[in-house]
Amino acid sequence: MGATARPDGGGSAASVTRDAALAQLDRPYGAVFWVAIAAVIATLVRIAYFTPIEASQGPAQKIFYIHVPAAVTALYLAFALMAVASVLYLWLRDPKLDRVAATSAEVGLAFTTVVLVTGPLWAKPVWGTWWSGDARLTSTLFLWLIILGYLILRQAVEDRAQRARYSAVLAILAGLLIPFIHLSVYLFRTLHPQPIVLKPSAPSLPPEMLATLLMSFASFALLFVALLRARYRLATIADGGLADGTASERDG
């Protein structure tokens, strides 16, 4: 455990809560994590063995069940959380919010990497090109670059409050940027028609495929939450444990 000094004294109720909270820090990978792992494994099994093979694309199409949920998780869970936590941080200046944003960025980077790896792996056997250049893949590429830039920025700033402020500004501006990336790619493809690639066509999926897709969404979301909690707890330890001072932990 970290070398956090425990203040002596205090009421018994307060110290029971403290001990419970500190014990949580000892086990960052709790029940939620293992349930999430089980869910993901179950989903992978279902994808491999219990989902029909798509007629025109063959077995490689199954990558779709990983690719799309990872993309959705990355953008609508990880990045959205990053942006919201950043706005709240600039308003409330609570360092916990900065920690949430940073943690979300790290976990989001992992999911985004999965999207960028599975994309070409799917596109090459099915459509013959590594890079499909479609809207979602391109946007995810930029999301990946933005999150990477965010993490590099954090590495480059030593002062904690300054790091939090700068990161928050970047995350919020990135949130404004994403629609422009979508717009640019959409306009580009309208003017330069390209072979139709990713057509997830979710509404017209047969029921077993749809069920697999939804199961995948759910297990990825659960995995995201589990990784977020684990990483957040580890970050809390790294920052010096709980705020056991009298004043609230506020920045600047």
Binding site: D159, R160, A161, G240, G245, A247, R250, G252
Partner: protein, 238 residues
């Protein structure tokens, strides 16, 4: 006639991460007063000045300038002048351009004339049209002081202004400070030079670890024994 300014703080606290740089500072500087603050490095003197200048916000306690509580908006900064150990000048611009720019930022009616008279008061008007980077450290410091005084501030915050000044420059500075004092400005002077500080101060404080360990009127201090007194207050831990 603009309202005369008083600097007032009660229990002023400033934290960085979990470190308390200011741990409860009380002071009151009336128009015409000069508070000299002595103390070792890391005592919090620069933090206190930056806070009074509006560059930092308090973490706790209160601070006010001219009755306006800090943090205050841009208008409240108009009456403050700051001199730090950085020159705050643009090396590529001339002394005249630097001081005129400051005058413009304060909205002075005639920036050129105001700049000239500020430079003249500090005895650097004859070098006004060379790029500042060419000037010696001492002359740069005088230009920097002219820059801080060009708008006739009611509150003057000085962070080790005598550093790098020769005898002539120090005399020019002291005379400018006396002029401001008798014009009703409130001064806070942070310095290592005990003699120069005592010569101009109306109040004296010694700072250590974010707090005042001594805070007296100047006439309660015996200059001869003050050096020893100061070393005793800060020597062991500082």
């Amino acid at each position: 006639m603009p309202p005369l300014a008083t600097i007032e703080t009660r229990g002023l606290i400033r934290r960085f991460d979990r470190r308390e740089a200011l741990g409860g500072v009380d002071l009151s500087v009336a128009p015409g007063d000069c508070l000299a603050i002595f103390g070792p490095n890391g005592a919090g003197k620069t933090t206190l000045l930056r806070l009074l200048a509006g560059l930092l916000n308090p973490s706790g306690g209160t601070a006010s300038i001219g009755g306006v509580a800090l943090p205050a908006g841009p208008a409240a900064r108009a009456q403050v002048g700051l001199i730090s150990h950085h020159s705050m000048l643009y090396p590529a611009l001339t002394a005249r351009e630097n001081v005129e720019f400051a005058a413009r930022l304060h909205g002075l009616a005639d920036p050129r004339t105001s700049a000239e008279s500020a430079l003249a008061r500090l005895g650097v008007l004859d070098r006004a049209d060379v790029p500042v980077r060419v000037l010696s450290r001492g002359l740069q410091q005088r230009v920097s002081i002219a820059r801080a005084f060009v708008h006739a501030p009611r509150v003057v915050l000085l962070d080790e202004p005598y550093t790098g000044l020769d005898a002539v420059g120090a005399a020019a500075l002291s005379s400018a400070l006396e002029g401001l004092k008798s014009g009703g400005a409130a001064l806070v002077l942070v310095t290592h030079h005990l003699d120069e500080g005592l010569a101009i101060a109306t109040h004296v404080a010694v700072m250590r670890d974010g707090r005042f360990v001594l805070h007296e009127r100047r006439d309660a201090i015996d200059p001869a024994s003050f050096a020893g007194q100061y070393r005793a207050l800060v020597g062991v831990a500082g």
